[in-house]
Amino acid sequence: MSQWVRVQQEDFDLSTEVARLRDGRKDIGAVVAFVGTVRDINQGDRVSTMVLEHYPGMTEKALHEIREEAHRRWRLENSLIIHRVGPLAPADQIVLVAVASRHRGDAFAAAEFMMDYLKTRAPFWKKEQTPEGSRWVDARVSDQQAAQRWEHADADI
C-alpha cells in the first residue's frame, strides 16, 4: 500500500493528513479535502452501528487507479485517499479524499471525481445495524449518475 492510498481500521486526523499531502511545498495554492462521515439515519431508519467490509488487494488497486486517473485528467500536485474498514458508529469518519493543486478549479473537480468513482468502483460494502436488525446497504442510483457525469472524458484514455 502506498502512502497516498490507505485502507485502515484506525481513524485519521485531517490536519495531519493535509500537512503530509502539502509537505511544505510552496507551489501548492489550493487544497480540497472531502471527509465522509457516518449518518445515524439511512433510508429512513436509525443506524446504530455499521461494519465496512472490503476486498483486500482489489481495493488498493481500484483506489490507485482512481487516483491515477484524476492525475491524468487534471493538473494536480498531490492527492491522497484514506478509507476505513471494520466497525464504525454514527459521526465517525469513513473516508478522506484530499487533493493539492496550483489553482482551485483542478482540486475541486478532482476531489469530486475521486469520490464519485470511489463510490461506484472501489470494492467496499456497508452493513448497517438498525432497530429492525442488520442489513446490507443498497447501492444508490444517484451515485451511479454522479459517476456517469465524468465518463464522457473516458474516451481520452
Binding site: 465522509g36 465496512l52 467490509e53 472490503h54 476486498y55 488487494g57 482489489m58 488497486k61 481500484a62 478509507h83 469513513i94 473516508v95 469520490m115 470511489l118 463510490k119 461506484t120 468502483r121 472501489a122 470494492p123 467496499f124 460494502w125 456497508k126 452493513k127 446490507w136 446497504v137 443498497d138 447501492a139 444508490r140 451515485d143
Partner: protein
C-alpha cells in the same frame, strides 16, 4: 484447471462461503457460473438470477465473456457501497 473464487458481502452470507479453490473446466466466467449455480437454489438465486452481480478477475471488474486461466482469482460481489 484450478481457480480461486471469492464471495463478498451479502453474497458471502447467502452462500455461506467466503472463498474456495475449485478445479474446474471453464473457459470464461460465463461457463463457470452454471457450474456453481447447479449447487442449489441459493446459488442459482445469488449468482445466476442476480441482475446486479459484479465479477472481478484478478482484481479487475470484468464482464462475463472474460476468459479464465489456471491460477485466476475470480470474485463475485454485489454493487459496491463504500465512501
Amino acid at each position: 484447471m484450478k481457480i480461486t473464487i471469492l464471495y463478498f458481502a451479502s453474497l458471502r452470507e447467502q452462500l455461506g462461503c467466503a472463498q474456495e479453490v475449485l478445479d474446474v473446466e471453464a473457459n470464461t466466467v460465463e461457463e463457470l457460473l452454471p457450474i456453481l449455480c447447479e449447487r442449489g437454489p441459493q446459488w442459482q438465486q445469488a449468482l445466476c438470477d442476480n441482475a446486479h452481480l459484479q465479477v472481478a478477475v484478478n482484481h479487475t471488474v470484468v464482464d462475463l465473456a472474460t476468459p479464465l486461466k489456471e491460477g485466476d482469482e475470480v470474485a463475485f460481489f454485489p454493487p459496491v457501497t463504500g465512501g
